[in-house]
Symmetry: C2
C-alpha cells in the first residue's frame, strides 16, 4: 500500500511542513519506502520531484524539506510497491495533459487485475501499476464525456464521482486527483483532511518532533486544507472520510461533498 498527501489553498502556500511529516512514513515511522513523488501546481504549470529512494532517507526529499515552494495545489505520494516494479515510471503522482491542462493523480490501494476490466483509450500507461491504468482509464472516460472542459465544473465532478463508483466497488481505491483548478479526493477506506483558517495556531507533526506556528506564517484570509491517508498532526482535529465519499476542494474550501 501507499500513503497520500494533498493540499489546496487560496494563496500559494508552503507545504513542506506536511511533506516533512509524510516522508517520515517512507521508511522511518512506516514502511512506504519504495519511492515517492510530489507535484506542486503554480497556476497551470507544475514543478515535480520524485525519486526511487525511500523518502525518509533521500537527498531530494531532504532538499525539499528546506525549500519554500509556494503552491495552490499539491499532490504527494509515498509508495510501498505491490503491483509494478520499483521504477521511476511506477512512481506516483502520474501526470497527463487533457484540454491543455495538467492532470495529476496519486493512488493508495490495490485494484488487482483491473487492467483486464477497464478498457483504455488514448491515454496509455507508461509503467505497470494498476494506479496509472485507472488514471488513464478515468481521463479517457472524462474526455469521451467532455471533449472540451465543461463550463460548469460541477458536471465534471459529478461525472468523476459516478465513474469512481466502479473502482470503489472493485477494491481499495483512495485517490487524489487534480486538473489544476480543484483537488478531488476519493476515500475507499483511509483518507483524512483538516482545514486551517484564522485564528491560526501551532501544529505539531505526529511522526517527527517538528512544529510550526501557522499564525506566524499566514494572513487572516488564508484558507489551507491538507489531506492525508492518516492525520499528520497530533493537536488538530482531522475529518475522517467515510468509505465511498468524494470531496472537492477549490482554494482550500470544501465546495462539494459526495457520499
Amino acid at each position: 500500500m501507499c500513503q497520500l498527501m494533498g493540499m489546496s489553498a487560496n494563496v500559494p502556500t508552503d507545504a513542506r511542513f506536511s511533506f516533512t511529516g509524510l516522508v517520515e512514513r517512507a521508511g522511518r515511522t512506516d514502511i512506504h519506502k519504495d519511492g515517492w513523488g510530489i507535484t506542486f501546481y503554480q497556476g497551470k504549470g507544475v514543478q515535480e520531484f520524485r525519486d526511487l529512494k525511500a523518502g525518509s532517507d533521500c537527498d531530494v526529499a531532504n532538499f525539499l524539506k528546506l525549500q519554500c515552494i509556494k503552491s495552490d495545489i499539491v499532490i504527494s505520494h509515498i509508495r510501498q510497491a505491490n503491483v509494478g516494479a520499483l521504477t521511476l515510471e511506477n512512481t506516483h503522482p502520474f501526470r497527463r495533459e487533457l484540454w491543455g491542462e495538467n492532470w495529476t493523480f496519486a493512488h493508495n490501494g490495490q485494484l488487482k487485475d483491473i487492467h483486464s476490466i477497464l478498457p483504455l483509450g488514448r491515454f496509455i500507461p507508461i509503467g505497470t501499476t494498476d494506479s496509472e491504468h485507472i488514471f488513464c482509464w478515468l481521463l479517457d472516460q472524462i474526455e469521451q464525456a467532455f471533449p472540451t472542459r465543461p463550463e460548469d465544473p460541477t458536471q465534471l465532478y459529478d461525472f468523476i464521482y459516478a465513474k469512481r463508483q466502479q473502482l470503489h466497488e472493485f477494491d481499495v481505491c483512495n485517490f487524489l486527483l487534480s486538473d489544476g483548478h480543484a483537488l478531488i479526493a476519493h476515500c475507499s477506506n483511509n483518507l483524512h483532511w483538516v482545514t486551517r483558517r484564522a485564528p491560526f495556531g501551532p501544529a505539531l507533526l505526529k511522526d517527527i518532533q517538528v512544529s510550526v506556528d501557522f499564525s506566524q506564517e499566514t494572513t487572516p484570509n488564508d484558507v489551507v486544507t491538507v489531506l492525508a491517508t492518516q492525520p499528520l498532526t497530533t493537536n488538530e482535529t482531522w475529518e475522517k472520510m467515510q468509505p465511498g465519499q468524494m470531496v472537492v476542494f477549490v482554494d482550500g474550501e470544501l465546495i462539494k461533498l459526495y457520499q
Copy 2:
C-alpha cells in the same frame, strides 16, 4: 532565445558536468535566465527538475550540481523568454505520453505566429510558447502516421525529419526530442555535439573553472554524446551541425545523420 543541452549514453551516466556548464549561461556568462528545466530518463521513466529562477542562481540547480543522477538520455534547457510569459508551464522541456512512452522536447529558436499555421490535434499546449505548440503538432503528426510504434524506428526518424522541414523553412528551430529510446536533434543554426569514448581524458568547462577527468569516471566501453547550443568545453573538438541537419543518437552512438 534559449540554449539546449542533451546527452545520450550507453550506460547510465552522470550529466552534472555538462549541466554545471550550461546553467552558468543562465544569468552569469549569458542571458538565458528566465527559468530552466532538465529531464533525466531512466528506462521508460523520467525524473525532472525545473524552476523559474535563473539557473545560475537557483537552489534547485545548485542542488543538482551536487547530485549524481545517472541517466541514459538527458534533455535540458535554459530559457530567455520571448514568446510566452515567465511561468512554469512555459518552461522547457515539455513532456507528453504517446504509445505509453514519455516524449520530451526542448526548443531553441523562434517561430512567431506558428500557432496560426500548424493545426493541433489531440495534444494541446498547456502554456503559450511557440515551442510547446510545435511539440504538440509534431506528436499529433507522428500519431496520425503511426497509431502504434513502428517496428522499424528508422521509419519514425525519417518521418520526423520530413516533418521538421516545415519548421526549418518557417524560422529558427533548433530542438532536442526523445521518446526514451533515441535522442533526436535538429539544427536550424546553432547546435554542436561531441562523443566521448575510450581513451577518455580530462575535459574543461568553458563557462566556469571546472574540470573532470573522464578516465576516472568511466569504463572503457562507455560511449557518451553531449549536445549543446554552443560547445560546453574548451579542450574537446565539438562537431558543428549544419543548418537543416538532423541527428539521431542511440546509446551514445550516432545512428543516423540527415542532411
